[in-house]
Symmetry: C2
Subunit: 168 residues, 2 copies
């Protein structure tokens, strides 16, 4: 397998992975391209290498910047903007966890908290429903606390901790 075949394959795998963490396939392919590129890439180059339109390239790169996975970079003496991806996978993992918590889990918790059940109905079904809903709220909150703490641990502690934990 030549290098460029390997690169293409990787980009396609990463692309199909995108849906797993809630981004479009093109956005994930742009991410993969920047991930395996040493040099910053311009919008033109991204369009060219992935055969996508200008609009699509632009919007994908913007979203990746919003996800904190990619940074804009201005080269001295050039008008064009260039883009680089964070290359450290541990940092990438923490960033994704952080973003998903912010985008998905926090709104979920807020929505769950809006459910206020009035306690008048004392039929067995009502009691049971209230119990179920409360359990769900507690469980999600627990998971979120856990995730929050994991994210806040810095990398130098997090990964050794996880591995030590699993050695036993």
């Amino acid at each position: 397998m030549t290098n460029s075949e390997a690169k293409e394959k990787l980009i396609s795998i990463w692309g199909s992975l995108g849906s797993t963490w809630g981004i479009s396939s093109t956005m994930a392919r742009v991410h993969a391209l920047l991930l395996v590129s040493d040099d910053p890439k311009s919008t033109e180059e991204i369009m060219e290498e992935l055969s996508i339109s200008r609009g699509n390239a632009n919007m994908s790169v913007r979203s990746l910047i919003e996800w904190n996975l990619v940074k804009k970079l201005v080269k001295k003496g050039e008008r064009k903007e260039y883009f680089v991806a964070e290359k450290d996978f541990h940092k990438i993992a923490v960033t994704i966890a952080k973003e998903r918590r912010r985008r998905e889990i926090s709104p979920l918790i807020e929505a769950l908290n809006e459910i206020k059940i009035d306690e008048h109905d004392c039929s067995p079904e009502a009691i049971s429903l209230r119990k179920r809903i409360a359990e769900m709220q507690v469980f999600i909150k627990e998971g979120d606390n856990l995730l929050e703490k994991l994210i806040k641990l810095d990398e130098s502690k997090l990964f050794p901790l996880l591995f030590k934990m699993l050695k036993r």
Copy 2:
């Protein structure tokens, strides 16, 4: 908020959560309905309560069964099939982790392993590309091992472990 309002709200929240773990919104709503129901529900009842078609109800319930989140149940003397959801959230979380590992991470690892780079090209770009791809393979594999071990720990050990870990 009346009980049935609370129930509807919960179903709608759970439904919009579905996309987070890669299932359709209807499938997640069916799951939520079964989660908050004490009694097993028939296809008819699911159709009725969620206002969805027979085909949709059938296929959603099948998928939930494939995800190991719902079980089929036959009442003595009745032809109709009834469905119940696992109610223990810890078990639900482990099941989802297990299924997603099987459906998403394992195929990803296999695909990554198919990337075999030939080592002839010794240009700096080629060396760097190979390094990046190798790093990615290692990182994903590490994450997968961690997840595998977490899944295999049984619940009585897993959750105390996680919480103890974070007390420090």
